[in-house]
Amino acid sequence: MFDLGGKKALVTGGSGGIGAEIARALSARGAVVAITGTRMAALEEVVASLPGEGHILPCDLSDPAALDGLIPAAEAAMGGLDILVNNAGITRDTLAMRMKDADWDAVIDVNLSAAFRLTRAALKPMVKARRGRIIQITSIVGVTGNPGQANYAASKAGLIGMSKSVASEVAARGITVNCVAPGFITTAMTDKLTDEQKKTMAERIPAGRMGEPAEIAAAVVYLASDEAAYVTGQTLHVNGGMAMI
């Protein structure tokens, strides 16, 4: 079950807590993995930790020119592309009344627009190959909302709508497009939340604990597998019961 031997996977934001764990989990199942990011030292550390073949493709997703070259670069490095994981994400948290246009635009650009452009580019080889897996890492807050995260929540909700639309366009070509929506996971990103935000969120988790990056990675492995061929346009919530939707 869930064997990814010979599959080629690109994971954006591969140096972050969740991205690195996704890369390791795909690699452990036999996939060749390429990771992107901007922090070279951290990317090198992740690739060194992979059990299988790994590649580093440095890329700043807020740079449109770099973005255009990423999918062709991934295909060239790995000899194809079977799995795209749009994991890269940023936050610029502040109350809506204080949110600058720049805070809004930066988050939408990286979290949503870059994910769309990479999805569009990845479809070309996938449609031709009549198979493919596209997995967007969205967030529980894209469905529930969260104070201070109007931009982030909008970008994550946007990923879900985008994925459903694309999923219906390419389902007949053997390509699935799904989202994984983490709840409250222990990463550098959640460390940035205020104590008050953390307390409020922790109280809402029936499992009584934060999630681990490996628990998100496991969901990605499933959706990337051949066994998940009949699952498309879905959002798999991994949140300890924090929201049951």
Binding site: K124, K128, A172, R173
Partner: protein
């Protein structure tokens, strides 16, 4: 060397699984040959590959029949 029209028709037959007799120059991909909109995008990709040319999106949208494809390729290939 096979001429452009024959190569285009061959791609259409192979890609859409259409009956060769139906793939006439005036046949519309969608109305006559059972293509869906994504098939037309794929056909354009296949033409680009076969003829080593790039067909921009605004031109691709106007390629609706077998003849449209043949004419475009004849005009734009060296």
């Amino acid at each position: 060397m096979t001429d452009v029209a024959e190569r285009v028709k061959k791609i259409v037959v192979e890609h859409l699984g259409a009956d060769e007799a139906k793939v006439t120059e005036n046949a519309s991909f969608i109305d006559d040959l059972g293509a869906d909109s994504l098939d037309t995008v794929e056909l354009v990709m296949a033409f680009e590959e076969e003829f080593g040319c790039e067909i921009p999106d605004d031109a691709a949208e106007k390629i609706l029949t077998v003849k449209d494809a043949i004419d475009y390729i004849k005009e734009h290939s060296a």
